[in-house]
């Protein structure tokens, strides 16, 4: 069988590696390299292992003659033609496949939409993605290229937020903030770190332990409350206004960096392809046939879904879900 996989993130790569022993697989990736989202990260939760090492290991798994990786290629449409699925790319190619796995991943919430938080308006207000880059490059600096004295994290930016239209939890931000806060303290023990949260969802193995360690070993301060407004001060720092909902008091504080923990949204590619296929679900994500035992199937026979194109997912869950998609196809073809 010929199988097309749209997206060379962890889901696409893992599914390809699992299918390659029995089938011909072609992966279409719009970026220049596969696994770019993982490669942008420094370390992974909960074990602080190297993100680059994981990317290299995953990439090595598709070094197989049955796998073809096409990068810098965007899939524009997927059409049913007789008993095949035709993939139309931006290089005007039309290729036929027996099955298709949609593994188009996610995009980051555009924090500029939350104008009250000042992203894109004031210096010193960054996203968790930009902080990750700073951590990776050992360049955690404020506006004046100095080591920050105070760094504040705000959880749930574009997640669990009716105003931005995203009522869902992005699932990975809570633990990512804890991981990043620990990384900051490892690089700059003198920097004070505060995490503003609604409630901390430490659902995964080792997450709760990280959260405890963040408080007990690294002295990171957790404040239950939302930040309502961020602005720039006369001395180019960031002023935040918030409410501490445990103390029941409003507060104002200044910091050098405000880190917005941006949530996961459906990518444009996911929304468009899924809409064309009629498998679009809530918030533009892909919709599986049912959430329990048919979570990799769709209502379109021969079209499967894997990973965070369905909903926010961490890397471990994405890889497991991709294996599940591969097993579903292997059983489907018997």
């Amino acid at each position: 069988m010929n199988i097309a996989i749209i997206g060379a993130g962890p889901a696409g790569i893992e599914a390809a590696s699992a299918l390659a022993s029995k089938h011909k697989v072609t992966i279409f990736e719009k970026e220049e390299r596969p696994l770019s989202n993982i490669r942008d990260k420094a370390f992974l939760f909960p074990d602080f292992s190297s993100a680059n090492d994981l990317a290299n290991k995953l990439e090595a798994k598709i070094a197989n003659e049955n796998v073809t990786l096409q990068t810098s290629v965007e899939v524009l449409d997927i059409r049913r033609s007789d008993d095949k699925w035709t993939i139309v790319t931006d290089s005007n190619e039309s290729l036929n496949f027996d099955y298709v796995i949609v593994a188009t991943g996610y995009k980051i919430f555009d924090a500029r939409k939350k104008e009250e938080l000042g992203y894109g308006i004031y210096k010193g207000i960054i996203t968790s993605i930009e902080l990750e880059k700073m951590i990776k490059e050992h360049s955690i600096l404020n506006n004046m290229n100095e080591t920050p004295r105070q760094i504040v994290f705000l959880q749930c930016v574009g997640s669990r937020d009716e105003k931005s239209g995203n009522n869902y939890c992005s699932k990975v931000c809570c633990v990512t903030a804890v991981k990043q806060a620990i990384e900051i303290k490892k690089q700059h023990p003198e920097t004070e770190v505060f995490i503003y949260y609604m409630d901390l969802r430490m659902w995964g193995e080792g997450f709760e332990e990280m959260y405890r360690e963040a408080q007990e070993k690294y002295g990171i301060t957790f404040v239950r409350g939302r930040i309502s407004e961020a602005s720039s001060t006369f001395d180019k720092r960031v002023q935040i206004k918030a409410e501490d909902t445990l103390l029941g008091t409003p507060l104002t504080m200044n910091c050098d960096l405000l880190v917005l923990m941006v949530g996961m949204c459906a990518s444009e590619g996911t929304s468009k392809l899924c809409k064309n296929l009629g498998i679009n679900g809530l918030y533009g994500f892909a919709d599986s046939k049912s959430p329990h035992i048919e979570d990799n199937l769709t209502t379109m026979p021969g079209v499967f879904v894997a990973g965070s194109c369905k909903r926010p997912m961490c890397i471990n869950d994405t890889i497991n879900d991709a294996r599940s998609a591969a097993i579903t196809i292997l059983n489907y073809t018997k």
């Binding site: 500029r112 009250e116 894109g120 308006i121 004031y122 210096k123 602005s231 720039s232 006369f234």
Partner: protein, 351 residues
């Protein structure tokens, strides 16, 4: 300050033929503002605007203070709309920002609940025999100036430029809470950084100051100032804003809300009396203008006809920075040409 995401968000503002609703309090606080708005619209922009002599309160202050029930408010606003309807106008512009906020709220209520609208029509008809249409377009007069800001600029005699340094004058904009915080879609530039006044300052040659408490309420909130014992909350809010803007050394403040412009001006006197504190280096305070006063000054209207001498912080230093002509001897002349009584001088705030 970098780019703003919602800056390009604009709303529909009618082009001509406006029904003007006056404010209950603005003619006391800023006696020339409404008059000069009508003059500018008619004489400088050539627009048709109707100013009914039969208008009355919208009940906004009473409504927000919980002393006027919503049904009563709806019926009274229905009567205001009936004045517009019977004169054949469809574009409603209420002078007061609270009236504007209240009317957007009422129209939203009626759109969501047509039965409530019918009940209001019924109440009004039974009480007065009047009927009304909803406005096709509702905007605040500051929206209208924003829309025509470049046209106004082309007619202006002065610009917001310091004639001694050649640099733009630096202004603080303060947007009334009821402008866009109730319904962001009704504010130019949305809710967080409405562009309505900033757009005027920039178009007329000035520079907008972005300071940390820019979006903070001035403290006018009706429950805070209506009861004397609560006024500490009110002045505390204004003080917070004034302290936050002080390091940026603003040349002026403009507002599109009656309460904000009044309190940001008059609390400067109170703070100076209480704490010997003023918010400019030389002890005169920061002058506060309505957007109509600012437009009028730049168009060349006489400052004393505009009524700016009735403000607490005096405006001569601002006029001198631009080079706006005025006759100091006319400052306290009444319409008859006779000098009216001159006000007492504050102890701490220089005038």
């Amino acid at each position: 300050m970098e780019k703003r995401y919602w800056n390009e968000y604009v709303k529909e503002i009618a082009d001509d033929h406006f029904f003007y609703e006056r404010s209950c309090i603005r003619q006391t606080f800023f006696p020339g503002s409404e008059a000069v708005f009508l003059k500018i619209l008619r004489n400088d922009l050539g627009k048709d605007i109707y100013d009914s002599s039969h208008q009355h309160t919208c009940t906004g202050i009473g409504y927000h203070s919980d002393v006027v029930p919503y049904e009563t408010t709806m019926t009274i606003v229905g009567r205001l709309f009936s004045l517009m309807t019977e004169r054949g106008y469809k574009n409603y512009i209420p002078s007061c920002i609270t009236s504007f906020g209240l009317m957007t709220e009422l129209i939203e209520t009626w759109n969501e609940n047509p039965a409530v609208l019918e009940k209001t029509r019924d109440y009004l008809y039974k009480a007065t025999g009047r009927s009304f249409d909803l406005p096709e377009n509702i905007a605040h007069p500051s929206d209208v100036f924003f829309k025509f800001r470049h046209e106004l600029k082309s007619k202006m005699k002065y610009q917001l430029i310091n004639r001694y340094t050649g640099k733009p004058l630096r202004g603080v904009d303060h947007i009334g809470c009821h402008y866009a915080k109730i319904f962001p879609k009704h504010g130019i530039g949305n809710a967080e950084f409405p562009h309505v006044l900033a757009g005027m300052i920039e178009a007329w040659g000035g520079e907008v100051i972005d300071y940390p408490e820019r979006r903070h309420c001035c403290g006018f909130g009706f429950r805070q100032y209506l009861i004397q014992e609560n006024r500490g909350y009110s002045i505390a809010n204004s003080k917070k804003k004034l302290e936050s803007m002080e390091p940026y050394e603003p040349d002026f403040i403009i507002s599109n809300c009656p309460g904000c412009a009044m309190f940001l001006d008059k609390w400067q006197y109170t703070i100076a009396e209480m704490e010997h504190k003023t918010y400019d280096r030389e002890g005169y305070g920061i002058p506060v203008f309505t957007y109509e006063e600012l437009a009028g000054l730049l168009l060349g209207y006489d400052p004393w006809t505009l009524g700016v001498q009735l403000h607490q912080v005096q405006c001569e230093r601002f006029l001198n920075k631009i080079g706006i002509e005025y006759n100091p001897e006319d400052k306290y002349k009444g319409a008859s040409g006779k000098i009216l009584r001159t006000p007492e001088k504050p102890k701490n705030l220089k005038v």
